[in-house]
C-alpha cells in the first residue's frame, strides 16, 4: 500500500518534528507501507515552486525506489508546461497544485489546463483541501480550504483528468461525488486522512455509498499522525474490513 499524501520539509506556521526522507522511510516501515508519494511542504507557500521542486528531487533521489517525488506545478507561472514534462521525465506519478495558496479560483481556466495536461501525460493531480484545522490556523494563514466547486470543475475538465484530493471530510466528498456524472466520479480519488471513523462512522458510510474503490491511503505526514488512517481502517465495521481501497 502507498501513502499518497506525505511531504518533506518544514511548515511555516508551526514546528514539525523531523520532516525528512529518512524519517519518512522509518514511518513507512513501521506502518507496513510500501512507499509514498512525497511533496515538498514549503513549496506550497513559495511564489515560484521551481527551486522547491529541485530540492525535493535532490533529497528523494537516494530513496527513489520507495519515495516518489510529487512536485508542485503552478499553472499561472511561466514555463509550467516544461516543468510538467520534467516531472514526467523524472518518473513522478503525480503533481501537486495549491489553488487557494496561489489565489486561483474554482473555475480558473489555467487550473483546468493543468489538470488536462497532467492527465494526458498519465500524471495524477494531487489537491490539498487543508493543511490544518481551521480553528488553529495562524493569522497569516488566510488561504482558506479548497472548495468543492474547484474539485467539481477540474473533474469535469476532460476525460483524461485524474484527481487525488487529500484532506477532505465527508461533507465535501459527498458534495463533489454526487455533483458529478458517473464518468466524472471515476476521475476522482480521495485520501482518508481527514475522514472520521466511529462512532459517526463517516468512512464506513462513504465506503457504502461512494465505494471503497474511490479512496486511497493518505496520512498527511509529517503534519499528522500516520497512525490515524490506519486506525480508521482497523475500526471499520466487520463487513467492510476486507474492503479494498482504490488504486491510482
Amino acid at each position: 500500500m502507498i501513502d499518497v499524501n506525505t511531504f518533506i520539509g518544514g511548515y511555516p506556521f508551526r514546528h514539525v518534528p523531523h520532516p525528512t526522507p529518512d524519517a519518512l522511510l522509518r514511518v513507512l516501515d513501521r506502518e507496513g507501507l510500501d512507499g509514498a508519494w512525497v511533496g515538498h511542504l514549503p513549496t506550497a507557500f513559495y511564489r515560484d515552486p521551481t527551486l522547491g521542486n529541485a530540492e525535493l528531487f535532490a533529497l528523494l533521489q537516494p530513496f527513489a525506489s520507495r519515495l516518489h517525488a510529487v512536485p508542485a506545478i503552478r499553472p499561472d507561472w511561466p514555463g509550467w508546461e516544461a516543468a510538467l514534462r520534467e516531472a514526467k521525465s523524472a518518473g513522478s506519478p503525480a503533481v501537486r497544485a495549491y489553488p487557494t495558496q496561489w489565489g486561483l479560483g474554482p473555475h480558473d481556466p489555467r487550473l483546468r489546463e493543468l489538470a488536462i495536461a497532467a492527465g494526458e501525460l498519465g500524471l495524477s493531480l494531487v489537491l490539498t483541501v487543508r493543511f490544518e484545522d481551521l480553528r488553529q490556523r495562524h493569522p497569516l494563514d488566510a488561504a482558506g480550504d479548497l472548495s468543492a466547486a474547484t474539485v467539481r470543475s477540474l473533474a469535469r475538465a476532460g476525460e483524461t483528468v485524474r484527481l487525488v484530493v487529500t484532506a477532505a471530510g465527508r461533507e465535501m466528498i459527498e458534495e463533489v461525488h454526487w455533483g458529478l456524472t458517473p464518468a466524472e466520479q471515476r476521475r476522482v480519488f480521495w485520501d482518508i486522512s481527514w475522514i472520521w471513523g466511529p462512532p459517526e462512522d463517516h468512512l464506513a458510510k462513504l465506503f457504502r455509498t461512494v465505494g471503497a474503490e474511490r479512496f486511497v491511503f493518505g496520512s498527511q505526514w509529517p503534519l499528522r499522525l500516520t497512525q490515524a488512517p490506519r486506525a480508521n481502517l482497523d475500526l471499520l465495521p466487520d463487513d467492510l474490513r476486507p474492503a479494498s481501497l482504490g488504486r491510482v
Binding site: 514539525v16 488553529q136 466511529p198 459517526e200 464506513a204 499522525l225 486506525a231
Partner: protein, 285 residues
C-alpha cells in the same frame, strides 16, 4: 454497524485497562434518527479498541430543542436522565458526568446532587459561560466538596468569539482552577481545535488541571509536546467524537517511546486517581 471484536481477537490497544475520560452518548430527544446506532457504534468500537470504561455525558438535546452549548434546564435534565439510564444499564462499562448550564445556578446545583446520588462521578461544563465567570464558582466549590472532577469544554487559545459557543481557553480555565485548588478540572480535548501549544503553557503551573487527549486533531508533535510540558501524570486519554483518532494517539504514545508506567498513567491510572474512589471496579490501582 461498526467494528466489533471477534472471539479470541485481542483488543487493538491491548488488554491493559483503558478509560475514555471524554465520551458522549445520544438519546431519542437529540433530534437524530440514528441516535441508537451511534451509541451502539461507540460500544462496538470501544470493545474493539479495548476501552474498559466510557466516562460520558449527554449534551442536552444536541441543538434540537436548545443549543448544544447553551442547553435549557429542561434539556439538561432530559439529557442527564438519558445518560443515567445508559450508565445504569451498562454499569460494567459506562460512567457519567452530570451536564449543567451554569447560567441556572440553582438548577445546576440541584442537578449535580440529583445525578451524583444516582452514580454520576463528574460534572460536565459546556460553553454556556466563560470558565472564569463567578457564576461557575459555586459549581466548582460543590464539585470539590463531592470529589467530582469538572470536565470543561475548551477552545485551545481563543483569539475571538465564535458562533454558538461562549468559548473558554486554558487561561480562562486556569483562573477558575486557581480559585478552587481542591477541585480537579479536566481540560477538554487538546486535539479538539485551536492551538494546544498555548494551552500547555497556560496550564503548566496549575496542577489541578488535567488536559485530555481527545479530539479529531492528530498533529504530529502534539503528544510529545503535551508530555514534555505537563508530564504523563497530568494527561488523560479520551476520544470525544472520533474514536479512530483516540486509537491513533494510543499507538503514537507507544511510538514516541513513553515508558510503560507513563502510558499506563495516561491510559487509566490518572483517571482512577482523580475520579471518586472506586469509580472503576475493573481498574484497580
Amino acid at each position: 454497524m461498526t467494528a466489533s471484536r471477534g472471539a479470541g481477537e485481542a483488543p487493538l490497544a491491548g488488554s491493559a485497562p483503558l478509560i475514555d475520560a471524554h465520551a458522549h452518548f445520544y438519546h431519542a430527544a437529540a433530534g437524530r434518527a440514528d441516535w441508537a446506532e451511534v451509541n451502539a457504534a461507540r460500544f462496538r468500537a470501544g470493545e474493539r479498541i479495548g476501552i474498559t470504561y466510557h466516562v460520558a455525558s449527554v449534551l442536552g438535546s444536541y441543538g434540537f430543542s436548545s443549543p448544544t452549548y447553551f442547553p435549557s434546564p429542561a434539556d439538561v435534565e432530559r439529557g442527564n436522565d438519558a445518560m443515567l439510564e445508559i450508565a445504569t444499564r451498562d454499569h460494567d462499562r459506562v460512567r457519567m458526568f452530570t451536564t449543567v448550564n451554569p447560567n441556572y445556578t440553582d438548577h445546576t446545583l440541584r442537578e449535580i446532587e440529583r445525578c451524583t446520588k444516582r452514580g454520576a462521578i463528574g460534572v460536565k461544563l459546556l460553553a454556556s459561560r466563560r470558565a472564569d465567570d463567578p457564576l461557575l464558582d459555586p459549581i466548582a466549590a460543590l464539585a470539590g466538596e463531592r470529589g467530582l472532577p469538572v470536565l470543561h469544554h475548551i477552545w485551545q487559545h481563543r483569539t475571538r468569539e465564535w458562533p454558538s459557543q461562549e468559548i473558554s481557553d486554558g487561561i480562562d480555565l486556569s483562573r477558575l482552577a486557581e480559585r478552587h485548588p481542591k477541585t480537579t478540572f479536566i481540560l477538554a480535548h487538546i486535539g479538539g481545535g485551536g492551538d494546544y501549544m498555548h494551552t500547555f503553557r497556560a496550564v503548566a503551573d496549575v496542577p489541578n488541571v488535567y488536559p485530555d487527549l481527545s479530539g479529531s486533531g492528530v498533529d504530529r508533535g502534539m503528544l510529545d509536546a503535551a508530555v514534555a510540558a505537563l508530564g504523563a501524570d497530568r494527561l488523560l486519554w479520551g476520544c470525544d467524537l472520533t474514536m479512530c483518532t483516540g486509537l491513533a494517539k494510543l499507538r503514537a504514545l507507544d511510538t514516541i517511546g513513553l515508558p510503560a508506567h507513563e502510558i499506563e498513567a495516561i491510559r487509566w491510572r490518572n483517571a482512577a486517581r482523580i475520579f471518586p474512589p472506586n469509580s472503576f471496579e475493573r481498574c484497580t490501582p
